[in-house]
């Protein structure tokens, strides 16, 4: 090739050529991926790489925390039960097994009563002993409060076609022993009934006034029902990997810094049972993201202000309990689910580091960021009833959100990385009980 530069232009053009000849720029990482895909369409990702995908890793961590917390909570409750009922050995690992142990313990107490009665009758004749024993056994079999009342006035019982008449010559200690035995039986039956109710309503109390508490709960709280409330939260948000925000202005080598964001909106849900619930809502999420980008033409500082409209769908598991002094119901909830996030606004401001630009460049970043996003949520929160229709919630939560096109996660044509938020939330919720009326 032959070039003929005029004398006057030579230095100018030669200088430009010299400046640009040695210049190099780094393209986005996804270019190589595209070339590779074009040249080797059959190429699949190495098996190990999938485990390094941040969204998979984070989902795994979330699931692990969910299971770990669930197990820890179950263990905590079992220990409480064991302490309350003086169970010597705690070898069980599930609440159901603990319940079985409790019943066995109570049965042992129940079977001890006839022996006490027998001791009291040691001075009676053999015939009398037989009659009394038959009488007590019949009472035990019938085992109702009505029978107990009969015991005090009439001395005849009927069971299995056997008519047992208590001799009039029985001494008062014997009668007292009978009465005590039956009273004990009734008390045991009542305890069993209470335990059954406790199991049903999901309340485990440490209080000594168990009966009062159970009645209180029966009368005032039914945890199944609908709720709606207002929610707000503060979050830290950051990109899980650099490179999401690639565009001609910012370039490809971007370093994000975690920043504070806030969230506000409404929440509603339904407690399907005393333990399980489903929750949704509409949230306005304002994320602020600071970054530094290294492009072919400059180093820039920038700020992204992103506004998302989020619609989560979470499933809840509730561990209910009652405050021993205030008699207020509270519950610890673990929840997890998905959320859709729509990028409503994206204001991006950048400024070149050398400060030659007086004003930062501002533009709409929606062109470069995914508009429709999908995410995974996980969290723990705590509910406290301030009245039977109103409760307060506070908790921590985390979410990983990415381009909706990146689901399923193996869609490697999507190069944007997900963003992550971790934060706290609080809300006040109005609760309307539904389903069966409170127990009486």
């Amino acid at each position: 090739m032959e070039k003929k530069l005029s004398h006057t232009n030579y230095s100018f053009e030669e200088e430009i050529k010299n400046k640009l000849d040695s210049f190099e720029a780094t393209p986005s990482p996804h270019i190589w991926a595209n070339i590779q895909q074009e040249l080797h369409p059959e190429t699949k990702r190495p098996k190990g790489i999938i485990w390094l995908q941040p969204r998979i890793l984070l989902s795994g961590i979330g699931l692990f925390l969910l299971v770990a917390f669930s197990s820890a909570s179950a263990h905590y409750l079992i220990k409480n039960i064991a302490n309350e009922y003086h169970l010597e050995k705690l070898t069980s690992t599930t609440p159901k097994e603990v319940n079985m142990m409790m019943l066995q313990k109570i049965n042992q107490q129940h079977h001890a009563q006839p022996q006490q009665v027998e001791t009291a009758l040691s001075s009676e004749t053999h015939s009398n002993k037989t009659k009394i024993t038959n009488y007590i056994e019949d009472l035990m079999a019938a085992g109702s409060s009505e029978t107990t009342e009969k015991t005090a006035t009439n001395t005849t019982t009927t069971n299995n076609n056997r008519n047992t008449t208590l001799p009039s010559s029985l001494s008062s200690p014997v009668l007292a022993a009978h009465t005590n035995g039956v009273a004990m039986l009734d008390m045991i039956k009542m305890q069993l009934q209470q335990l059954e109710e406790i199991e049903t309503i999901g309340l485990l109390s440490k209080s000594n006034h168990q009966e009062e508490e159970v009645n209180f709960i029966k009368n005032f709280y039914n945890l199944r029902g609908f709720y709606i409330g207002a929610q707000t939260g503060v979050k830290a948000n950051f990109m899980t990997e650099n490179g999401q925000y690639q565009n001609p202005i910012l370039g490809q080598d971007i370093h994000y810094m975690p920043n504070a964001s806030y969230q506000t909106g409404m929440v509603f849900g339904y407690h399907l049972t005393n333990h399980f619930g489903i929750e949704s809502g509409v949230n306005y999420m304002h994320k602020v993201q600071q970054f530094e980008s290294y492009n072919y033409d400059a180093i820039r500082n920038g700020t992204m202000k992103l506004t998302y409209i989020e619609v989560p769908l979470d499933f809840k598991y509730k561990f209910n309990q009652m405050m021993s002094k205030s008699h207020r119901v509270s519950s610890i909830n673990i929840f997890g689910g998905m959320q859709y996030a729509y990028l409503a606004r994206a204001n991006v401001a950048t400024q070149i580091n050398n400060a030659r630009m007086k004003n930062p460049t501002q533009y709409d970043g929606r062109e470069y960021l995914p508009i429709h996003n999908l995410g995974l949520n996980v969290g723990i929160d705590y509910d406290l009833f301030v009245s039977k229709n109103l409760y307060w919630t506070i908790g921590v939560d985390g979410a990983v959100t990415g381009d909706i096109n990146s689901f399923p996660v193996w869609n490697k044509n999507v190069t944007s990385s997900p963003s992550m938020t971790i934060g706290v939330h609080t809300s006040i919720r109005f609760f309307k009980a539904a389903g069966p009326k409170p127990l009486h």
């Binding site: 003929k4 006057t8 000849d21 190099e24 780094t26 595209n34 202005i249 072919y296």
Partner: protein, 194 residues
């Protein structure tokens, strides 16, 4: 090819070329890693924006890998690759832009321009200013100044007359110099204010 090769060097160049010919992914990646920086700079000069430059880069590398059999070892390998990227850029330009004929004018005398203005600019700023030229001016300026092509060669490449090539180069040069001086002047004011 040894899987340890990550970048192309004069010593392993023939191995990389051989690997690329047989479709070896490691060789292709080594070539990409070694050349993508330089070739992306070429693409940025011709492209309208960053995304467009990436499109050219992607298309150019696919052409390189698919046509590497045609490289016979005559001339430098880098020069051969570079030519593919320039051609790809020109193809992109032809697809998207119509070259408007302008009246043939003589080369503009630029002796009155500030010769220090260019020195004060960073390479990145200069590149940005070149990108702002209209596609026709930019392509001819790049082909003439950066690729060293003559007006006859440019005219043949772009399907225009030599006169059009000359006039567009003159206008591109004038516009670019004005932009450079303006940028340089803004920079000086900014420094003084500080």
């Amino acid at each position: 090819m040894s899987s340890k090769i990550e970048y192309v060097t004069p010593e392993n160049e023939h191995l990389v070329i051989q690997g690329c010919r047989s479709g070896d992914l490691t060789a292709q990646k080594a070539l990409y890693k070694s050349m993508s920086g330089k070739m992306f700079a070429v693409c940025l000069r011709y492209a309208s924006d960053y995304h467009n430059a990436e499109d050219i880069l992607q298309e150019g590398f696919i052409k390189v890998f698919r046509n590497i059999d045609k490289y016979r070892g005559e001339g430098s390998f880098e020069g051969w690759i570079r030519r593919i990227f320039v051609n790809t850029s020109i193809e992109q330009y032809r697809k998207n832009v119509k070259l408007y004929a302008v009246s043939e004018i003589e080369d503009t005398n630029i002796s009155n321009h500030d010769s220090n203005a260019l020195d004060s600019l960073m390479t990145e700023d200069l590149l940005r200013l070149i990108q702002t030229l209209s596609p026709g001016y930019k392509t001819i300026f790049n082909l003439f100044v950066m690729e060293g092509m003559s007006h006859a060669e440019i005219a043949q490449e772009l399907g225009i007359s030599e006169g059009t090539s000359k006039s567009q180069l003159a206008r591109a040069r004038g516009i670019l110099q004005t932009k450079i001086e303006k940028e340089s002047s803004n920079l000086k004011i900014s420094i003084k204010e500080k």
